[in-house]
Amino acid sequence: MTAQPHTGGTTDGDGVAIRASGLTKRFGKLAAVDHVDLEVPARHVYGFLGPNGSGKSTTIRMLCGLLTPTEGEIEVLGLRIPAQADELRSHIGYMTQKFSLFEDLTVRENLEFLAAIQGVPKAKTKSRIDELVEQYHFGDLQKQLAGTMSGGQKQRLGLACAVIHEPELLFLDEPTSAVDPESRRDFWEKLFELADVGTTLLVSTHLMDEAERCHRLAILDRGTLVADGTPDELMAKLKGRTFLVETADPRRAQHVLVDVPGVLGVAQVGNTLRVLTADDGGEATQRMDKALADAGQKGEVMPAPPNLEDVFVAATRNGDAKDDRREHAA
């Protein structure tokens, strides 16, 4: 609203919405985010994939100026953060991980409140709210207290409130963590609609299927950025390293395979095992065959196309398959 056109509210000429370099946040001795370099292109849905505690929320909070970085440079929509954070606020929408709207206000009251706070022009407020009520299917729920709605409805309201002032950039911190699959699909539809009209979205998630939908993604692990690119690029790098193992006793076979050198991860999917190996030109296959034979297990090792979960495992686990099982189970 108050930003000058040449300083605020524009992506730079090369279409980059967010640029960060050496971004670091320490809480005491713990480095929650450790020298992360990021470049988020405008009008994209950019995903942050990582387990809980990997630094996704901390990074998002630093990018929208809520946390001061210990080190590093941030430029968001051409504004230096945190110095110009106040200016940035009218250009971004932020949806927190926890439902952060007022549970004791109705759907419409929440929208009205956010419209006033975000400076939606008074004359446009009513039509904008009506529009959102329509788009986000709140027709019958307008007078319902936000606290009494279902998880999916709350997420929708959160998003509607975050976009009420039509921000250029939207930060979504694990927006669908408490939502059923159908609501999640609807929610993602909405995100792509927003990207279509020119909004840049930064979405954090720990769900593979969501990450797979993103135009680009960054994988975070224990505060460091371990991989980034489009999902296809990331998966292509794993060509020839993923296998399916059919066996009669998958649990025992898993124990055997985990100890084979070069095996990065073994996950049971139904009656088959999904194995990710290190990049060693297929040697691991032979070792797996041998190990299974030695253990008296009948099993067939077949190559399989990599998926994003493999990418995630490959990026976060370097050589140690054992401590990875826990992670996979989650």
């Binding site: 909070r61 606020r89 927190t96 952060s100 007022f102 008074k122």
Partner: protein
């Protein structure tokens, strides 16, 4: 300062408050209950203390004296005794609180101008002692001038009037009600805002709010304004009930009363906000509120006379808004003074508010770290 955003906060607070039925009920409930409780129960007036009477003279004069003492209403005769010793035994056993002993040579003592009678007191209760002191005023005042003339020659009203001058019933209720406005406003107002910010932090609303263009000042002022209105409602409830139940006068200007109350409300709300920016949980905010509330009640002059406190304690009391408010409200309501005559206390309250508000706004940062 953006007025639309400020107004949005005010409306939001009022809407939330409107849905919080218990808090809503408390806004009126607390003043009503406290007023009735303090007004009636904490009453320094002692009436109907159980008394024993040992009238050893049993002359017309002595009987008249005893009747005069009973007429004050402070004591109710529940036992008769023959000697002061019997009275003492009854006191020790807790049967009576006060004994009235008239010696056999009452008439001679009257002529000589000596002590006429004795009031024996249960000294274990200091308030009873005070009441007895007033009883003792009756014979001593009336003893000297008339010698043989019966007691009735002095109008009984005169003797009672001595006592009624000290009759604490009117005094205590009248003193307590204006003070009670201050106490109730201190209790409710500080707590309202002390919780206001912490609650939003706990519920996660704050992270959303600080990511918007809303400024600290808009948020702080927006949170205070609705409660100013509520504080004035509470003031009105106490004033109306005080006048209706206890005949508390407003000798000064009603506008001055509200102005003084408004100053205290703002001071307390700002203090609450400051607490709220410091506290990490609603429980902590509550504890900090009581940390302020107790000294307010004890040191402000509401419960104990300000003049009787040691100098150091008086300095501490000068920091508390309630101290200044009590001086203002008693001045306006009981002495009919104008606020401007007590400008120092008006200034003190305004300065307190300004300081707390500034600190709260400075303390509140639009950051999570």
């Amino acid at each position: 300062m953006n007025w639309r955003r400020l107004w949005a906060i005010v409306i939001k607070e009022l809407r939330q408050l409107g849905r919080d039925r218990i808090t809503l009920a408390m806004i009126v409930g607390i003043p009503v209950i406290q007023l009735v409780l303090f007004g009636y129960a904490i009453n320094l007036n002692l009436r109907g203390l159980d008394a024993g009477i040992a009238d050893q003279a049993n002359t017309a004069g002595s009987r008249a004296l005893v009747m005069d003492m009973l007429a004050t209403g402070v004591v109710t005769p529940v036992a008769r005794a023959d000697t002061p010793q019997q009275l003492m035994t009854m006191i020790r056993r807790g049967r009576i609180s006060i004994g009235i002993a008239v010696p056999p040579d009452f008439e001679r003592r009257r002529i000589d101008g000596r002590e006429l009678a004795q009031v024996l007191v249960d000294g274990s209760d200091t308030t009873v002692q005070g009441a007895a002191a007033q009883l003792a005023q009756v014979p001593i005042d009336s003893a000297v001038p008339d010698t043989r003339a019966p007691m009735t020659s002095t109008p009984p009203g005169a003797r009672i009037s001595v006592v009624s001058f000290y009759n604490p019933q009117r005094q205590s209720a009248i003193n307590i009600v204006p003070g009670l406005i201050g106490v109730i406003l201190t209790m409710t107002m500080v707590l309202f805002t002390a919780i206001a910010i912490v609650r939003e932090r706990e519920r996660g609303n704050m992270e959303l709010l600080i990511a918007t263009p809303l400024t600290s000042t808009e948020l702080m002022v927006g949170k205070v304004l609705p409660y100013v209105a509520i504080g004035l409602v509470q003031t009105s409830v106490i004033l109306v009930l005080g006048m209706w139940l206890f005949d508390v006068p407003i000798r000064g200007n009603v506008f001055d009363v509200y102005l003084a109350a408004g100053l205290l409300i703002l001071g307390n709300l700002s203090l609450g906000l400051l607490i709220s920016t410091q506290a990490r949980s609603q429980f902590q905010a509550m504890q900090m509120t009581f940390f302020v509330f107790l000294p307010s009640i004890l040191l402000s002059g509401f419960m104990f006379p300000f003049a009787g406190m040691p100098k150091v304690v008086q300095w501490i009391a000068e920091v508390l808004p309630l101290t200044h408010f009590l001086r203002l409200i008693r001045g306006v309501m009981l002495r009919g003074a104008g606020l401007w005559e007590m400008w120092i206390d008006v200034l003190a309250l305004a300065a307190f508010t300004l300081m707390m508000m500034t600190l709260a706004i400075l303390r509140f940062r639009k950051r999570l770290d």
